[in-house]
């Protein structure tokens, strides 16, 4: 959202200046891809690469995907590899996990992660824990993917962020892409990973285009799980975020740059494992830390980052308490103004940066 609106509003010379400050991997000018298409490419490439990979979920085949992420795949790969399921999350998630135990590489799509709650016992007790319980005899090579967190106007039961819930559990890996490169590289890495990986996408990001480098367009482009990316360098304050809120941070960073405050924006990319090293190095540089996420504040991603930075060598470098920007501690309302104010906006980040730096 931030990338596209800034580009449209601002004239070209200014865009060139801004572009220098926005961390983008160099490449062919104009190779833009939406997050949706990046995910689609990732799926297609991995399905082609390994016969054991298959996609299963509601409406993924004939409907081309509820959000069109799996568009065209049924035509290319057929019914054996792209499978429409009945609306039975607990059942098909368990079935996919059993298939993974028996040597296949399923990709399970949850239409949204809200519905994964019906299947969460299978994800945690059958997938995450089995490798450990069997002392390494039974690996579970599986990906659970789908849109996570708030969409627009879908209210409380369809807007929850499950990042903290899944990242809590040893045995799972959890990734949370922001850009199209993130989406493609992380999903491919997740499919190739022999462990259960939860891939938390975001519906609002699906339609956004991002620059894709030549490398990112390649068939073997994977992003290592557990490594964050510095989206924008800065020296005054570190903003750590994941998924859509990386974009919110970049928006806030733009505005603050105009006031002489340089923000370093860290795109986590993965929630578990968390890239502690990148966060700690950044905090040691800027001496101020703010976490930004869409999930609820209590027991969340920001809480975890705050605790681990406090326990780390970076603690002595802090010039201010670690502050969190999160979703409001409420079930998501429907009415537009209420909904907008239930989720972090750029002004929330800016206000919090000013509090951290003790500036007006």
């Amino acid at each position: 959202m931030a990338a596209i609106s800034v580009r449209k509003l601002v004239k070209d010379p200014i865009w060139m200046v801004l572009k220098r400050n926005i961390s983008m991997t160099p490449g062919r000018l104009g190779t833009q891809m939406t997050v949706r298409d990046a995910l689609n490419s990732a799926l297609e490439e991995e399905l082609k690469r390994d016969e054991r990979v298959f996609l299963m979920g509601e409406e993924v085949a004939q409907y081309d995907g509820a959000y069109k992420v799996s568009k065209g795949l049924l035509n290319k790969f057929g019914e054996k590899r792209i499978i429409d399921t009945p609306i039975t999350e607990m059942g098909f998630t368990g079935l996919a996990i059993g298939a993974a135990m028996a040597g296949l590489k399923p990709i399970v799509e949850f239409m949204t992660f809200n519905f994964s709650m019906q299947a969460i016992d299978q994800v945690i007790n059958s997938a995450a824990k089995t490798y450990y319980m069997s002392a390494g005899a039974v690996p579970v090579n599986i990906v659970f993917r789908g849109p996570n967190g708030a969409a627009a106007g879908v209210a409380a039961q369809h807007s929850q962020c499950f990042g903290a819930w899944y990242a809590h559990c040893p045995g799972l890996k959890v990734v949370s892409p922001y850009s199209s490169e993130d989406a493609k590289g992380l999903l491919k890495a997740a499919i190739r990973d022999p462990n259960p990986v939860v891939c938390l996408e975001n519906e609002i990001l699906y339609g956004l285009p991002f620059e894709m480098s030549d490398e990112a367009m390649g068939e073997d482009f994977v992003i290592p799980i557990g490594k964050a990316k510095i989206e924008r360098e800065g020296k005054h304050v570190t903003l750590v975020a994941h998924t859509r809120y990386v974009g919110i941070c970049l928006e806030a960073a733009e505005e603050l740059a105009g006031k002489g405050v340089e923000c370093e924006v860290v795109n986590l990319r993965s929630l578990r494992p968390l890239d502690e090293e990148t966060i700690i190095n950044s905090v040691m540089k800027t001496n101020h830390l703010i976490t930004v996420e869409g999930g609820w504040p209590q027991y969340g991603v920001g809480s975890e980052i705050s605790a681990l930075v406090s326990e780390s060598s970076a603690f002595n470098y802090l010039d201010a308490p670690i502050l969190r920007v999160t979703g409001a501690d409420v079930p998501m309302p429907y009415a537009k103004t209420l909904e907008t104010n239930a989720l972090p906006q750029a002004f929330n980040v800016i206000k919090t940066v000013k509090k951290s730096l003790n500036i007006p």
């Binding site: 059993g98 007790n125 069997s134």
Partner: protein
């Protein structure tokens, strides 16, 4: 005041008829045939045969296997009472004919998945006595090196041992899915109890198995009680073999190892052509639900005793073997002594072996982790290497 279930058992026991044929006039025969109880069928025109034949060698094998499991479970119970086994321990004593009979009709490439009453299945699927008993005592020669315990034992094509009631059933449908996807002609036997039979996820699994023609044999090991809750208190319909609705079903006497074998042979053949089938095996457990349940608050001692006398799978099979001249009582006794010795030896290992060293606490959480991956221990000073 016997429960409905126990009354039915008693009647069935009285009606048990078998004939044996002498093949020759020597002391032992090479094979014999018997009649089983009739099978109840659901949406099937034909069922398994009520005439079953067994060779002498097979009969002695099945006898030995059932006796081994019975002895192993008895020892496990004693170890638990001595507090050498901790946590959960669900004994299979009384149900041996099911795992032995079914294994006799499948091969090593067929798959099995079951719930937590899994020790008998673990053994029959190829894990050694030490592998089972040392896993129960938490030692490193256990089949999961002591990291899984009673409910999490695995082997090639044996997917445990699962602790969450009913969760193994969709998993089993998934294993069958994989077997079909990979174009094998193998099947998956997916077991659950009368308690799990009411779980919603079972019906989700039946639906997908039928829809996609998965080579899955669903098996309800109906032992009459879900923990302390009898069938009539838990289930609106206790005809478990029919609960698959559009999935055909067959009910078999789970205390008759030859009937179970024949039923499984029929079902494997069926499933490879027609998609899923459901077996209800009527059986009984002598112990309580687990070692923390004496098993007497919800059923009478008379009921348990009656099953031991009239329907015990091992002693009934022994009677058949001897009366059909497949073996002499002395040969049977010899097997009993050998079994006891083998189990006792394994028990010694299970008691005296060591536990995994402490650093293993942090290992094998992930397959192929990064070389620098570390795991947090219980306080901030503990960051352990993890492989």
């Amino acid at each position: 005041m016997l429960s409905v279930f126990a009354r039915n058992l008693r009647t069935l026991g009285c009606r048990g008829i078998y004939q044996s044929y002498h093949i020759n006039n020597y002391a032992t025969s090479t094979e014999a045939s018997f009649e089983t109880q009739p099978y109840k069928l659901h949406k099937l025109d034909e069922g398994p045969s009520t005439n079953v034949t067994v060779t002498r060698d097979d009969a002695l094998t099945y006898y030995r296997q059932m006796q081994m499991i019975r002895r192993m479970e008895t020892v496990a119970g004693n170890l638990y009472k001595s507090k050498i086994i901790r946590g959960f321990c669900h004994l299979y004593s009384g149900q041996e004919a099911i795992c032995v009979g079914m294994e006799a009709s499948i091969n090593k490439k067929d798959a099995v998945i079951t719930a937590y009453r899994a020790h008998g299945w673990t053994y029959i699927r190829g894990v050694s006595l030490v592998g089972v008993l040392a896993e129960l005592t938490g030692k490193q020669s256990g089949c999961a090196q002591g990291k899984g315990g009673s409910m999490h034992m695995y082997n090639e094509n044996f997917y445990g041992g699962n602790g969450i009631v009913g969760a193994q059933v969709p998993l089993g449908a998934g294993i069958a899915f994989a077997l079909k996807y990979q174009k094998t002609d193998n099947i998956c036997i997916t077991l659950y109890g009368d308690g799990a039979a009411n779980q919603g996820q079972l019906f989700e699994a039946y639906n997908m198995a039928k829809l996609w023609n998965l080579p899955c044999i669903f098996v309800c090991e109906n032992n009459g009680y879900a923990m302390g809750t009898s069938l009539d208190r838990s289930s609106a319909s206790t005809q478990y073999f029919s609960r698959g609705d559009y999935v055909p079903g067959v009910q078999v006497d789970g205390m008759d190892v030859l009937a179970v074998k024949e039923c499984t042979r029929f079902c494997k053949d069926f499933v490879l052509k027609n998609g899923p089938i459901l077996i209800e095996a009527s059986t009984y457990r002598y112990s309580g639900h687990s070692m923390s349940d004496p098993g007497t608050s919800y059923r009478t001692r008379e009921e348990v005793q009656e099953v031991r006398e009239r329907r015990d799978p091992i002693s009934k099979f022994k009677e058949r073997i001897i009366s059909a001249n497949l073996a002499t009582p002395e040969e049977i006794k010899k097997i009993d002594v050998e079994v006891r010795k083998e189990v006792d030896e394994a028990t010694e290992v299970a008691k005296t072996d060591r536990e995994l060293p402490l650093e293993e606490l942090y290992n094998k959480i992930y397959s192929n982790p990064e070389p620098d991956y570390q795991v947090r221990g219980c306080d901030p000073t503990i960051m352990a290497a993890s492989h």
